[in-house]
Symmetry: C2
């Protein structure tokens, strides 16, 4: 894995952007942090997909060329590097995690009938649903093939756990659409299953390859879980507050689809505006004015701020987990990865 | 695996039906052959899916309750039993193969927008595309989870190979729809990838668990490959000649979708009727009369008969492979499985 440099650079070429999150809450200016291993990971992903044939190869090239934050493979990699030297195994496990992520995105785009992802047409838009469903399946198989070929059985079991969890979480979320009784407990269960568990499994995958002991693996898993919770909560905030151009989707899309996320749950529970918010949310069809009122309430009642504080508390918990791990340069990188999330804007 | 009886019974309760294939070619009467292990496999499939949660559990129960021929798990099982005693590992590998098959069926039904499979509504019809895509993904993960948990790494690698092949084969078939230059070579490549390879991998999976040596594994794989080719060719014949009630789909559906299969390829190549058939096939839109003419040509020019003979030759090749394997009672079962295919009618 000689291509992976073990340094942290500050540069303008970063995936997790430096600007303040547009919630009016953040108050730090922040230089950009680059994770130089991303380039090596990109190259390894392309390499892994280069033995695909014909159309599947074109499809894989299209999706891998669309970029992405590559958070999952970075987590696998860095969590391994906290405990061990760079290795081909770590790289393979990292790439597999990204292939699984890519497979879920391909299937998500079919489900949502999305035409654009990351400013490029989706696979289903270019090649149709038929080939896209199969390409997703191919990517799952490819990931398991890499893990199996490299005898990364612990990582393989973790990826199975992650997919199982994601499928259940996504279905649960779909079933809770327009659920008037949506509450904090259900929300947490959903975001844990659909997002945080995968990040936890990525961290454990890397740590297991780095031969971390059981206690260390559990701790680094908890770091990943909290990072995942923060990541999803910020995602849900950005759905109300993000820049549409940067996010690549219109504001308030979750609510329009009946997905009740943390800011709305907090608003629903507020003494003063809860009843009004509930009256609106419980309507069968919301008007544009209803959406505008909800947006005003979210901004002016502190629901967004409270949600963001909860996200920050998960980042703090993630950072706390790191303190009981070996004090290596890569522990610092994991810390930077969590810190960078404070300023996530897409 | 005490539940699996090591006997062969003749009974009316069978999945591979006894009647002659309706091609006018078969001339044997045949008692029904039951594979009593099917019941144990059904029970193990239900058992494997019993730890699923909520909706996914309901979906899995719906699909596993829809039955099926269970050819893939039977192949895993019997190919293992040729070389070794019954074992939990064989059973797990068998179940995993069926779960992967189920996953591909779920995704196929979404792709084809099918409403009915095996006389029951499809998952997408009951739960929608969203949950169905995820349920397919879940089944893939479940299969790999079982293989990984039971350390069946060789079987796992074989299942990866099978999925890879199926995805490529299905996409290739989709791309060759309405391909005027469709020929025998492309057809064979397609059916090998989309159908026969999976059966080959199932056979090798069982044999590897039974500790067959490399030569034996290759031979039993060739048995499975030929069985798969015969299976698919007969499937393609049944599309023209099958009983619509038994097949559960209208006749000539492949051609309507632009899928040119063996009987048509043979007809296209015939000196006398090839030009007429090509003229019809190459039309942009075929009328009902065109379909009727093609059906008459297929029946009266011997194209169906030739296709069936080719399928039978693959059954013969499969049987020939068995001759160089240890002469055990389960070699006889594999032989019966191939023989039963001669009379497949759904």
């Amino acid at each position: 894995m000689g291509k992976l440099k073990s340094n942290i650079e500050r540069t303008s070429d970063m995936h997790i952007a430096p600007q303040k999150i547009r919630t009016g809450l953040s108050h730090m200016s922040h230089n950009t942090i680059a994770f130089p291993e991303i380039k090596a990971i990109e190259s390894e992903i392309n390499n892994a997909l280069s033995d695909s044939e014909g159309t599947i190869r074109e499809m894989c090239s299209h999706i891998s060329g669309s970029g992405g934050k590559r958070i999952r493979p970075l987590l696998v990699l860095y969590c391994g590097l906290v405990f061990s030297k760079p290795s081909g195994s770590l790289e393979k496990a990292a790439v597999s995690a990204e292939l699984i992520h890519m497979a879920t995105l391909v299937h998500d785009d079919i489900i949502d009938d999305s035409e654009i992802r990351r400013s490029r047409p989706t696979l289903n838009e270019v090649w149709g649903n038929h080939s896209s469903v199969l390409c997703g399946d191919y990517l799952f198989a490819k990931a398991f093939g890499i893990l199996s070929k490299n005898k990364l059985y612990k990582s393989l079991a973790l990826m199975v756990e992650a997919i199982d969890s994601m499928c259940n979480g996504e279905i649960q979320q779909a079933q809770n659409r327009f659920n008037k009784s949506m509450n904090l407990e259900i929300y947490y269960e959903q975001i844990t299953k659909k997002t945080a568990k995968f990040l936890e499994c990525c961290c454990k995958s890397g740590a297991s390859i780095g031969n971390a002991d059981e206690r260390q693996t559990a701790i680094i898993g908890k770091y990943g879980l909290n990072l995942g919770l923060a990541f999803q909560i910020i995602d849900d905030i950005l759905d109300f507050r993000g820049d549409e151009d940067i996010m690549g989707k219109p504001k308030g899309e979750d609510l329009r689809q009946g997905i009740i996320t943390l800011p709305l749950i907090i608003l629903k529970n507020s003494d003063k505006y809860g009843p009004l918010a509930n009256d609106i949310i419980n309507k069968k069809i919301l008007s544009e004015k209803d959406y505008a009122v909800l947006n005003d309430l979210l901004a002016n009642t502190g629901s967004i701020e409270q949600s963001h504080n909860i996200a920050l508390s998960h980042i703090d918990q993630a950072l706390l987990c790191l303190k009981s791990l070996p004090d290596t340069p890569y522990r610092e990188v994991l810390s930077n990865l969590a810190e960078a999330l404070r300023f996530r804007q897409n």
